[in-house]
Amino acid sequence: MFPRAKLLVFTALLAALAPADALWPQPRSIETGGTPLRLSGGFAITVAGSAPSDLHAAVQDAKSFISNDKLGRLVVGRGAVDVAAYSKAKTLSKLTLSLEKGATAHSITSEAQKAPEARDEAYTLTVPGDGSGATITANSTLGLYRGLTTFTQLFFYNEGTTYLLNAPVHIEDAPAYPYRGFMLDTARNYFPVSDIKRTLDAMSWVKINQFHWHVVDSQSFPLEVPGYPELSQKGAYSASSVYSPGDVADIISYAGARGIDVMLEIDTPGHTSVISKSHPEHVACPEATPWATYANEPPAGQLRLASEATTNFTAGLLAAAAKLSPSTLFSTGGDELNTNCYAADEETQASLNATGKTLEQALNTFTQVTHKALLDEGKTPVVWEEMVLVHNVTLNPETLVLVWISSDDVKAVAEAGFKLIHAASDYFYLDCGGGGWVGDFPDGNSWCDPFKTWQKSYSFDPVANLTDAEAKLVIGGQHLLWVEQSGPENLDPAVWPRAASSAELFWSGPGGNLSTALPRLHEVAYRMRQRGVQAISLQPEWCALRPGACDLTA
């Protein structure tokens, strides 16, 4: 029995080391004590004053998470080791949400849909150690919502008891960066609305505030745009693989109620092959072969950017699509433009001859016209980095730039003076490492090998090599899922919990410690599973229950 006793001591030691404040993202400021509290059977959450309906709904959601999560603490012995600690603890029976004096109760949705820098997500959360009521205060309902999300993560469960071990808790929290996103491509393969909503749920649990919806691409056009129904009629994979305006509104309002703004992207002028199905007159080199000459992946096909008719068509399309979304942001894409495509396109060459422009000049005209259409709709245009680094295009100075090819390109975009969003393939691409997907290529790997682990993303420095002035241009960052090899079947496992890594990076700020992050990230994954998201295990459960024991040099 002697070794057994030794083991128990070891177990107790591990339990003591395991963080009891397993929050993700880590609040900017947190003080905790060592007092256990049990949640009372009649635990209630009330909102002081009048509250918008989406805040009421959020309160209901929070209550149901607190009672249904039933998460056993991740220590050897799980919740059973906490029985002695919580069994005689005081009970917590109330949480009150209130806005700071002078603040007005707007809906979470309207707060979330403001321009990134205008969103007020700060909150203060207090859980006294004596069982008196807990409080969340904030300047906005969006801040109250973030506080609620934190509150639900405070609790563990064992045999009918919901408890925490670390009262009193005092948190003062606000994000380091205003843009914390996740991008999903719904064009290579289609994702039903229910999968997108589940993803939005999971995003909200880690305080991600931006859904970048790369909705169309060369393979399919699943977006029904009012005035342009033929695009999805002929360009979607099937009639059942279309997002109707009603679906888009549904997703936007579902996201808004969860503190998430939806940025639509219609990628142009490249990545538009499928538009040829309804508008062959607007697309150069549709499905041209060999595809590798004309595009980065099959099928080839790009908008005839030199054509005035195509330019006007695109501007009209973007304006109509922009009206679908209340966001201040709208992305026109702009990545991977292929010049061979236009060199071989008689129509484009004729347009260039007629106007006496070079292709770059024509691209500039095209971009100015299409972006003006967005600016007229009150949107801030968002583009992929090539529009700044590869092409000589006059962009509105407020344009946001997504840096994707490499984190090495951040500096150049900042030097050009543009606000930027980190989306670098070498840190944040969720599809990397999944093997080559083009056919007849047995030794092919993904172009951006290797796989980007959560640790790699987590260690990213958003201001590396930037001057202080340049650092101010960084508005945040995001993980991205390109879906050549994803469908609803592997959406959750490909995204979660990895995408939570950047959520903490851009909420809590860089420099986080991998060792203390891992146990908390395990908990994110376990809690997500309890809530029906198929987040994968990052390690054997043996390791998840023993923080540090499976580190490289442990």
Binding site: S218, G435, G439, C550
Partner: protein, 558 residues
């Protein structure tokens, strides 16, 4: 409409559906459409074993519920005109030779490798006459039914059809061992997940489930007489496979033509046994773990100790009695010798018996494999035990080659039969990143990811002489589960694991005489994936749907 019409025709001609996986050894197809009659039925055997009757019922259900639309531009609509006035197939009639009693699928499936009769002949006439499926065993009939199910497509729920009648299939596997290995120790998998996996395996005619049931992280197997090992070594009381669970899995598998090879890894990979039997484990939680094990936690059986040898031998005997298979694996990978250097109990045992560590390992292995032989089992071990250690093993021992495909030659040179499981072709967990903590730049040890193409190009006879070919029993793709749980089981395994299923069923040559190749395989593998999704297995897309509907257009050079 003019522009799209030629494209449809080209696709239809260039890609006959032939969406069978694994593709039969011999296959002749025509171009006559044929639909299932509204009252289509499968006529089983008169004295049908219960598991064959169940298999027939499953086939009839799949044919009704797959609702699989053909993967062409326009999907089912593209076929509507051709299907409209097609002849009807009234029935499929099963037969096996008269005479000997009819054995069950399960009996045939758990027989020793090389004795299982899986061959069958399937004929689907184009003229509306009944289809015929003949085999020498009920297992062969099961394989034929599996093929038959894959022939059919759905037209809006109004017709179930093929465009390729008449169809004549003469089929049998190139290799008897076509497996999949699942590790249920790093993370636990409920029985339902294992059963769903067995279903999917059976759809690709796999014959062997290698169940790596225990390891250092947890011991989820309840072995009669050794209940304490799981009671203390499992992750939780609801993460234990009881003998009834094991029986359930074995029966479920056998009825689907799959034999279950249980694997209790020894003498390494046994830290979890410490929880119940600290006296048998050396270097438990030895730190730094890298000194004592290939991954945390460290801990290995004290194989030099006579009492540990007796314990292990009896544990094997009890575990082996739980199985119907002729095979049982004792593991044998990644034995760490440093673990024993400072283990007083081991050093004392060596001194007392006057043996070296290698001699003690031989004694231990002879004892554990001896009891398996006595129970009529063939021992299965990892290649390390042949390549890195000098052991006396029974001649019929089956070796699993795992570290590298290059090791197969050395195993063959020693005259052992073996199973291909090379990490450089078949490991499903490779490429998913480092799982150890505090290693932000780390990748998986066996990077890169093994794509289905990579696996598909594997040559089972690579570098072997003709006389050594008979030593190749087959192969399997394993899933080690450091980063897997039920959440990503399907998406990691399917459809990739089907790749080796065809390598080892079809062999080197396609029915048209051409070498097996990734170009003609991809459309069929897409088809299999879509059918799996229809059947509730979360197999992932291999390409954008645009590509899946246009064979060849997303090839590297197209």
């Amino acid at each position: 409409m003019y522009t799209s019409l030629p494209a449809l025709l080209v696709v239809a001609l260039a890609c006959p559906c032939r969406a069978l996986w694994p593709i039969p050894r011999s296959l002749e197809t025509g171009s006559t459409p044929l639909v299932l009659a509204p009252d289509f039925r499968i006529v089983g055997l008169r004295d049908s074993p219960a598991d064959l009757s169940s298999a027939v019922a499953r086939s009839q259900a799949y044919i009704r519920t797959d609702r699989m639309q053909r993967l062409v531009v326009g999907r089912a609509e593209a076929d509507r005109a051709r299907v409209q006035d097609a002849m009807q197939l009234p029935s499929l009639v099963l037969s096996i030779p008269e005479g000997e009693g009819v054995g069950s699928i399960a009996q045939e499936a758990v027989g020793p490798l090389g004795t299982r009769s899986e061959e069958y002949v399937l004929h689907v006439p184009a003229d509306g006459a009944p289809a015929m499926l003949a085999a020498n065993s009920t297992l062969g009939l099961l394989r034929g039914l599996t093929t038959f199910e894959q022939l059919w497509y759905d037209l809006d729920g109004n017709a179930t059809y093929t465009l390729e009648a008449p169809i004549i299939v003469t089929d049998s596997p190139a290799f008897p061992y076509r497996g999949f290995m699942l590790d249920t120790s790093r993370n636990f998998f409920p029985i339902t997940d294992i059963k769903r996996t067995l279903d999917a395996m059976s759809w690709t005619k796999m014959s062997q489930f290698h169940w790596h049931v225990t390891d250092s992280h947890s011991f989820p197997l309840q072995v009669p007489g050794f209940e304490e090992v799981a009671e203390k070594g499992a992750y939780a009381q609801d993460m234990i496979y009881t003998p009834a669970d094991v029986q359930d899995v074995i029966t479920y598998a056998a009825e689907r033509g799959i034999d279950v090879l249980m694997d209790i890894d020894t003498p390494g990979h046994t830290a979890a046994i410490y929880e119940s039997h600290p006296e048998h484990i050396a270097c438990y939680l030895g730190s730094p773990w890298q000194t004592y094990a290939n991954e945390p936690p460290a801990g290995q059986l004290r194989f030099a100790s006579p009492s540990t040898t007796t314990f292990t031998t009896e544990l094997f005997a009890a575990a082996a009695r739980m199985t119907m298979s002729s095979l049982f694996s004792t593991g044998g990978d990644e034995l760490n010798l440093e673990c024993y250097t400072n283990d007083t109990a081991t050093q004392e045992a060596l001194a007392a018996t006057n043996q070296t560590l290698e001699e003690a390992l031989n004694t231990f292995t002879m004892s554990t494999h001896g009891v398996l032989t006595k129970l009529g089992k063939t021992g299965v071990i990892k290649s390390d035990m042949v390549l890195d250690h000098n052991l006396t093993l029974p001649n019929d021992t089956v070796v699993i080659v795992w570290k590298s495909s290059a090791d197969a030659v050395s195993i063959a040179a020693k005259g052992f039969q073996f199973v291909h499981q090379p990490s450089d072709y078949f490991y499903l967990d490779c490429g998913a990143g480092e799982w150890l903590g505090q290693d932000p730049l780390g990748n998986s040890w066996c990077d890169p990811f093994k794509t289905w193409h990579r696996t598909y190009t594997f040559d089972p006879f690579m570098n072997l002489s003709a006389s050594q070919h008979q030593l190749v029993l087959g192969g399997q793709q394993p899933l080690w589960t450091e980063q897997s749980e039920p959440e990503n089981l399907d998406s990691i395994v399917w459809p990739r694991a089907a790749s080796s299923a065809e390598v080892f069923w079809t062999g080197a040559t396609l029915p048209d005489g051409l070498p097996r190749n990734v170009s003609s395989a991809l459309p069929r593998l897409h088809d299999l994936r879509f059918r799996m999704v229809q059947r509730g297995v979360q197999a992932i897309p291999l390409q954008p749907l645009w590509c899946a509907l246009r064979p060849g257009l997303c090839d590297l050079q197209s």
